[in-house]
């Protein structure tokens, strides 16, 4: 721009909705309002100019940083054109998918990293929080979850002798330094499964007991669940889900379903580590107690054979490490068995405590034969947690 340009405009002072006609001069760095009567700062630096509104006409409505209520409207003409050439932010907004592609891709990448960080970070955060949760609170959560479950799954009528025998077995399966309370309940349902709720409440379903052929298998299941109790896995899953739910509420706005499935997948992967840890505890505790680990291995084999016959979920979607791998690990880890886990009489009492489930005609979707599915327990825990946290969707 060799020479300053002259043009016309209308100035508004932010006080009254009445424009004053002004003469305007565009220099190399400034837009200068020549009409001194306006009483406004007469020099507007080009770098501080903004387009104030995108009008359908070619009027250029400008504001300037510093005096946000002042407006200068330029009529179409060479000055307005030259100004838009010199100061990009005075140009009208245009919308173009082509232009927004790269920034959108960048935003997507940043979002992906943030989500990955959340999914990976939540479980790591959950462990210290779960372990630091006072026992009283954990027990309350466990009891409430149990009450919610108990509506559908009544407790089996377990004779006192059987209860005592189970309690004694639990004590024998405690490893050094594990003295959290463990309460075992046998419950009536068709779902062959066992759960460790927060607060050391272990549920074993009648359907699972019906699958068992020896008290060693029962001891294996108990030991596995006690492994979950010792590490507060139930609480950990609950805390990680809740923190993820809170984090996603930050983003929320229509993609809740997506966020939930991501949470679900993350929890599944992370549960597999818990299952391995619980298996490891079970093998060690059974060895210490002198109970054969073959029972646990047999149960894995039998259930996975049943599962294979069924059309089940693909293995990678399961919470559990490959069953064969688990069975092998259980067999390999066993020490010399000294005795059956329970006496003949007591095992008979446990076996008979729950009514034998009637065989179903249609295969139950959930009866996929996993020995322990803590995601179920966690879901129940989450139900109660969800009730407590009316986080906006």
């Amino acid at each position: 721009m060799a020479k300053d340009m002259i043009g016309e405009g209308t100035f508004y002072d932010g006080a009254a909705p009445v424009g004053a006609p002004v003469a305007v001069r565009l220099s190399k760095r400034m837009l200068v309002i020549e009409n001194a009567a306006v009483g406004a700062p007469a020099e507007w630096p080009l770098g501080k100019l903004r387009r104030a509104a995108d009008e359908p006409d070619d009027l250029v409505r400008l504001s300037v940083k510093g005096t946000p209520d002042h407006r200068l409207v330029l009529k179409p003409g060479p000055l307005a054109e030259a100004l838009q050439e010199a100061a990009p932010r005075t140009r009208a907004a245009t919308f173009s998918l082509l232009k927004s592609g790269p920034p959108a891709a960048l935003a997507a990448a940043v979002s992906a990293v943030a989500v990955w960080g959340l999914l990976a970070g939540a479980p790591k955060l959950a462990r210290p929080v779960a372990l630091a949760t006072p026992d009283a609170i954990e027990t309350r959560i466990g009891l409430q979850t149990y009450r919610a479950v108990a509506r559908d799954w009544p407790e089996c009528e377990t004779p006192t002798a059987a209860k005592d025998a189970i309690d004694a077995l639990v004590d024998e399966l405690r490893l050094e330094g594990f003295d959290d309370p463990v309460t075992v309940e046998l419950v009536e349902t068709r779902l062959p499964n066992a759960f460790a709720l927060p607060g050391g409440i272990v549920l074993v379903t009648g359907a699972l007991i019906a699958e068992m052929q020896s008290s060693d298998e029962f001891a294996g299941v108990l030991a596995h669940e006690m492994g979950h109790v010792r590490e507060s896995h139930g609480m950990q899953i609950m805390v990680s889900r809740m923190s993820l739910a809170m984090a996603t509420s930050l983003f929320s706005g229509g993609l809740d379903l997506l966020a939930m499935s991501a949470t679900e997948l993350a929890t599944l992967r992370y549960s597999r580590d818990f299952e391995r840890a619980a298996d490891a505890y079970a093998v060690e505790a059974l060895g210490e107690a002198g109970v054969a680990t073959d029972g646990l291995a047999d149960l894995f084999d039998r259930l996975s054979a049943k599962q294979a016959a069924d059309v089940g979920a693909p293995a990678w979607l399961s919470t559990h490490p490959e069953d064969a791998e688990r069975a092998a690990a259980a067999r390999a880890g066993g020490g010399a068995a000294k005795r059956p886990a329970l006496s003949e009489e007591n095992w008979a009492l446990v076996k008979d405590a729950c009514p034998v489930p009637q065989p179903e005609v249609v295969a139950d979707d959930d009866a996929d034969g996993d020995v322990e599915r803590d995601d179920e327990a966690a879901e129940d825990a989450e139900t109660s947690a969800a009730e407590t946290a009316p986080v906006p969707d």
């Binding site: 209520d69 998918l97 979002s111 706005g253």
Partner: protein, 386 residues
């Protein structure tokens, strides 16, 4: 308000306003948007919303508003929207940390003490709804500007929320019959706290003229419900008979395997929702005539200085607007919301005219305090529609 001001309320036709001395017409209101612009803007914001898992929504909303405002012209000059996405993000974060996380924590504690106590928290979001609506309105007004002069809102969001809460209870226990009183009272509070520069808006109307249209709509709704819901049940039963009993659809669904049956179940549920949703919407149709009457009444009794308003909404046009917008939202899964806003802006601009005299020279600068952050609560409660 000001005791010396003469009473302007005279006839059912509305406020008496001075005739322009020189015969100059009052300023015109126009919406001058192009569908093409908004389509590419919407596509772009959808792209960014997906890429950021919807966190971009604050900027998306800002851009859409900036567009809508700039296409709305009064006397040839556009409105300006000066809000920023960061202000809305900040508002959202503030609300998240001072309202929702503490509320969630309280709920958690109550759940541990006694699960039944959690129900005590349920009215809180209902109450917050009023706060959210009023604060969001205040934010939008404070970011709206015409010919360099700002709009603004005074009043207290808590007072407004109590009104919403109290009148909602009253309307509920009177089977809706208090609706005109509620709407009129809320509109009065809104308008009598709305400013353009140093000029306050005034609403001088009352609910009484609205009771005729409301009661007509009330009875029409009952009459329609009596026809429409049995019809919906009949249609459902007929199709269940044809496809289920005669063509064996249900048996076939049972045989196609658990996953496909579940999908079919979802499909059937969706159809049921559609049929009964349509029945419900049809039964609500008379309300369009009430709302048309209400818009016209409110406009007629609203003024800012010597400038008044006249609205010519009709029942059919309101029904078309509402149903059209509902379909847009439904078929675009909510992503097409800006299209519904364009329709609403155009609707109002086409039907609202000014009366009286615009004394622009006499307007002074706004002294209303502007909120620094915006609409967090409205976003969190999902009522930040515009």
């Amino acid at each position: 308000m000001s005791g010396t001001r003469e009473i302007q309320v005279l006839t059912a036709k509305g406020l008496r306003l001075p005739e322009p001395a020189d015969g100059a017409p009052p300023p015109a209101l126009a919406y001058r948007g192009e569908t093409n612009d908004i389509a590419s803007l919407i596509l772009e914001t959808i792209l960014f919303n997906l890429a950021t898992l919807t966190l971009y929504r604050f900027w998306a909303r800002t851009r859409v508003r900036r567009y809508l405002w700039s296409r709305t012209e009064i006397a040839g000059d556009p409105l300006e929207y000066t809000g920023r996405g960061t202000e809305m993000l900040l508002g959202f974060l503030i609300i998240l940390f001072i309202v929702f996380l503490p509320l969630a924590a309280l709920a958690l504690v109550l759940q541990l003490i006694e699960p039944m106590l959690v129900a005590a928290i349920y009215p809180i979001p209902l109450f917050l709804l009023g706060v959210a609506l009023y604060r969001a309105r205040g934010y939008r007004l404070s970011r709206t500007l015409w010919r360099s002069v700002r709009f603004g809102q005074t009043g207290k969001s808590l007072s407004y929320a109590w009104k919403v809460f109290g009148y909602s209870i009253l309307t509920t226990i009177t089977f809706g019959l208090m609706t005109p009183t509620k709407q009129s009272a809320l509109y009065r509070y809104e308008m009598n706290n709305t400013w353009f520069g140093d000029r306050k808006f005034e609403y001088a109307g009352g609910p009484n003229p609205l009771y005729g249209p409301y009661i007509a709509a009330w009875f029409a709704r009952i009459a329609l419900s009596v026809v429409v819901f049995p019809l919906a049940v009949g249609v459902t039963a007929f199709f269940a008979w044809v496809f289920g009993d005669q063509l064996g659809l249900f048996r076939w669904i049972e045989q196609i395997g658990p996953n496909l049956s579940a999908a079919a179940g979802v499909g059937i549920a969706a159809l049921l929702y559609l049929v009964f949703g349509a029945a419900f919407a049809a039964a609500q149709a008379p309300m369009a005539w009430y709302y048309a009457a209400q818009f016209n009444h409110f406009a007629r009794w609203t003024r800012v200085g010597d400038l008044g308003f006249e609205m010519s909404a009709s029942g059919w046009s309101v029904a078309k607007l509402v149903v059209g917008n509902a379909f847009i939202m439904l078929f675009t899964l909510g992503l097409g919301r800006p299209f519904t806003q364009v329709r609403t802006f155009r609707y109002v601009a086409d039907r609202l005219v000014f009366r009286g005299v615009a004394d622009f020279e006499g307007v002074g600068p706004s002294t209303v305090t502007r909120p620094g952050a915006g609409e967090g609560l409205a976003d969190a409660l999902d009522v930040g529609a515009v």
